[in-house]
Each structure stands twice: as C-alpha cells, then as structure tokens.
C-alpha cells in the first residue's frame, strides 16, 4: 500500500506534517499515521495563543483502538486550531493533509522547518 506524501510538506519522524501557509506553519498528521490509527474518534488540541516547542507534545489523538501523542514540528505561538475536528474527528482519516489539519503556528525559528524531513526522506521511513 502506498500513502500520500505531498511534496509541499515537511515531516517529523513521529508522522506529523508541516506546511507553509501564508506566513504561518500548518500542522497535521500524515496519511500513513491516520491509516495506522484507524477510525479517529477524538482529537485533543491546545488553545490559540499557547506557545508550542518543537518536539514537545501538543495534544493527543485517539482512534477506536489506540491513543497517540502529537508532537510539534516547529516552535511558536498557536494562531489557529481546527475546531471542525471537535465534532468531526473523522476528517483526519478522510483528508489528513486538507480538512483534517490541526494547528497553525507562527514559527519562531525558520531553521526548524528546514530541518524537518523532506518528502522523500519521510517516504523512505514509512516504506
């Protein structure tokens, strides 16, 4: 089985993606991760204004069968949270790189984004 690994994203080895989006960095989990988890039923996210630190836990995602921590790909203040996931956590399964996004971060250090895994490096990891 092959999974989507969009070229316009960078990745953490813990299966979060990050993408530049008009000045902020948008964050979610990958197609591989949503498939591993199965039916997502609950996403616990921080609040707008919270400060995130690269590599630190920022939330929790639960499927019917599993619980998994979420890790911030970059540091910075949270500028937006996808509230649609409260009532429709299945968006993470249906569209992990689109409507299933989780956060937007005002990046504190552009170098952190550049240090994330490239699409091909992430693809190799999940192959």
């Amino acid at each position: 089985m092959s999974f989507d690994v969009p070229e316009d994203c960078r990745y953490r080895e813990t299966h979060e993606w990050a993408r530049h989006e008009s000045g902020t960095v948008r964050v979610g989990i990958t197609d591989f991760a949503q498939d591993e988890l199965g039916d997502v039923v609950f996403v616990e996210l921080p609040a707008v204004g919270d400060a995130l630190e690269s590599g630190a836990e920022f939330g929790v995602i639960e499927s019917i069968k599993a619980v998994s921590d979420l890790y911030a790909p970059v540091s910075g203040d949270l500028t937006a949270v996808n509230d649609d996931l409260i009532d429709a956590p299945e968006l993470v399964n249906e569209d992990p790189f689109g409507d299933g996004w989780m956060l937007e971060i005002d990046p504190a250090d552009p170098a952190e984004f550049e240090a994330l895994l490239s699409p091909s490096a992430y693809d190799d990891q999940t192959a």
């Binding site: 609950f42 616990e44 499927s63 019917i64 069968k65």
Partner: protein, 361 residues
C-alpha cells in the same frame, strides 16, 4: 516466544488485514476499518476468524461429572445439542476464565461428550487443570486439547441466518444456545447459535484444514478483533484477562456480574467460597458507564466519586453505534446503581460519567 497462527493466516496476510498479537496468537485486527466492520455486524452480517479461541474435548462415562467439578454451571441441564455459558473458578471462587460448554449432538464430527471453549491462550492451562482433577477424583474421563485441530469462525448480525441459509440446511432451526451438525462448502461443521456481539448469529467449528473453504464460502464483511471488541463491549460482555484476571484483578462471578452462571447445587471447585454468606452481595461489582464529557475511558483509568478514587476502568472505547464513550469498571456497591454520577480520570482530567446498564446500542 513466537505467536500461534490460525489456519487462515496466509489468507489474512493476502487480504491486507492489519494483524495484532492477542492471547499468544497473531490474529486480524481489522480488514477495512473497525467502524465499517462494526456497522456491518449491527446492520447486516460479518464474519470473524476466531480460531484463537481454545477448544477442549471431554470424553468418557464421567465426562459430565468432571465438567460439573470444574465449571460453575450445571451441565446436567444440557441435552445433546445444548450449549451453556459458564465460568471456571478456583477454590476461592475467583474466575480463571469464562467459557461456553457444548454438549455435542448426535452426528457431530467429534465423538466427545462435551466440547468447551475457553479464551485464547488458556488451552494448555485448562487441559492440565482438567487432567489433574480427573486423576484427583479418580474419574473415568479424558480431556483432549483440540485447539490446533479446530478452525472456528463466527458469523454475526441480523442477516447471519439468511446468509447461512444459502450454504446449509435450515440454520434457523438451530435455536439460541444450541449446536447441531451442518455441512457448509462440503465441510462437516458444528453450527452453534452463539456469539459475542449481541447480535443473532452462529459460531462454526470444523477441521482446521478446511478453514479456507468455509471462510471463502461466506460472502460478507470480514471483521477483525477490533470490531469484535467494540461489539462485545457495547453488548456488555466480559473480556477474559481484562474485565477479570485471576492474577491482576481477581473477581468472583458475582463481582463480575455473571452470578447467573453459578449453580451451587453442583460440587464445583469454588462452590464453598461462592456459597459463603455475603458472596452474592459483593462489596464491589462491575458496572457499565457512559461518558457525558468529551474523552475516552480506557483500561486502567481511575474511577472517582466526589474526588476520591473508588475503582478502575477495565474496558473502555468509543461506541461506534452511539458515538459516545462507554466502558466497564468495578465500583463499590453504593455507586453501582444506574444513573449514579462517576468521574473517569483521563490524562489528569476528570470526565463526568454515569452508570448505565448495557447494552450500549
């Protein structure tokens, strides 16, 4: 230790099913998605490979006496072709496992008097237990660990009998908790009107070598252990090793809510403890609950009331049918009534929950 594999292991691998380790076996966790599989069983029909379940065959003139020594229910109530849910307890009345006992009918593929089905990974322990007690009481009976020789499938859902009607003779004439021989896809099977989902349906037992023929003849949604767990939890059925565990969470049948399988008129191991004053009114018992707040209770989460810890969750999940988080856990008797407000501590936050009697669908 390497995992045991069911006769259909190669078929499951080829189907792309996700696999999981359970009870010492490597079994399918999900074929498509737990939700899809769960909904198929509640709405129409699904099939499960449950070959990880144990099968022990008991034969000989004293087979019934032996079964009544080691299971809490009374097998003398069983006519050939009857099935019975039961518990296996130790001398303290602690549940070692729960099981279904089949008194085999005429024409069954096995000559044994009884076949019983303990949970996955309990087959060696129970075979030893049965053999030891045969000797101790000098009974004329033999027990055979038939687990590796049997394949076992469950076909569950409101359309299960209709599906089987196209494959064998009058499956609907086998009544609930009965077992009868039927030929399916040219394979001699035991067809039992039993299951672990809360839905109508059957469990099929047959020669392990014939598993692929029976499995492929059943045209319906394949389901894994993930959906089996959400279905049984919605139904309020116990999971051995999780909702009771002789080592980690020793419980009597009364605590676990299955006191109805205890017949103290039979001389079973554990009877004295379970006949003692107060045994039927334990201080703690297993209750169902539903969360009112967002969050999901999981095995091991603390149950609190008025800020004080009072118990622990044994099973918890998101109910695919209700869309609410549900679970089972032990609480003191005073907190066991339906409607009682509880708290479930999820990652440091106390979520509001209410005691509710299953089923949750």
């Amino acid at each position: 230790m390497s995992l045991r594999t069911p006769p259909l292991a190669a078929d499951h691998a080829a189907s792309g099913a996700k696999l999981t380790a359970f009870g010492g076996w490597e079994m399918p966790l999900e074929f498509d998605s737990i939700r899809t599989e769960h909904e198929a069983v509640r709405g129409s029909v699904g099939k499960f490979d449950v070959s990880h379940m144990s099968q022990l065959a008991v034969s000989g003139p004293d087979a019934g006496r032996l079964m009544n020594r080691l299971t809490t229910n009374d097998v003398a109530e069983l006519a050939p072709g009857d099935a019975q849910y039961s518990a296996i307890t130790d001398a303290d009345g602690v549940v070692l496992d729960d099981t279904v006992v089949y008194r085999l009918p005429e024409g069954a593929p096995s000559d044994a008097a009884f076949l019983f089905v303990p949970n996955a990974g309990h087959d060696a322990e129970m075979t030893q237990r049965w053999a030891r007690h045969t000797q101790r009481w000098d009974l004329d009976a033999t027990v055979e660990n038939a687990t590796d020789g049997y394949g076992m499938l469950a076909v569950q859902g409101p359309e299960a009998i209709e599906l089987l009607g196209g494959l064998c003779e009058s499956p609907g004439s086998v009544s609930r908790f009965s077992v009868a021989p039927r030929e399916i896809a040219g394979v001699e099977c035991l067809l039992a009107r039993t299951g672990y989902t809360g839905e109508d349906g059957v469990e099929l037992l047959f020669d392990a070598d014939a598993a692929a023929a029976v499995w492929s003849a059943l045209s319906c949604q394949p389901c894994g252990l993930g959906a089996r767990d959400t279905l049984r939890l919605e139904a309020g059925f116990l999971l051995s090793g999780q909702d009771f565990d002789a080592e980690d969470n020793p419980r009597t049948p009364y605590e676990a809510g299955i006191g109805f399988v205890v017949d103290t008129d039979t001389p079973f191991v554990g009877r004295d403890a379970l006949s003692a004053p107060g045994a039927t009114d334990p201080e703690e018992r297993l209750v169902g609950f539903r969360l009112a707040d967002r969050g999901i209770a999981r095995h091991g989460h603390e149950i609190v009331a008025d800020g004080d810890p009072i118990g622990a969750v044994t099973s918890g999940t998101m109910s695919p049918t209700l869309g609410d988080a549900i679970g089972l856990g032990y609480v003191p008797e005073g907190y066991a009534d339906p409607g009682t407000e509880l708290g479930i501590v999820v990652r440091g936050d106390t979520k509001r929950a209410r005691v509710e009697t299953p089923p949750f669908y």
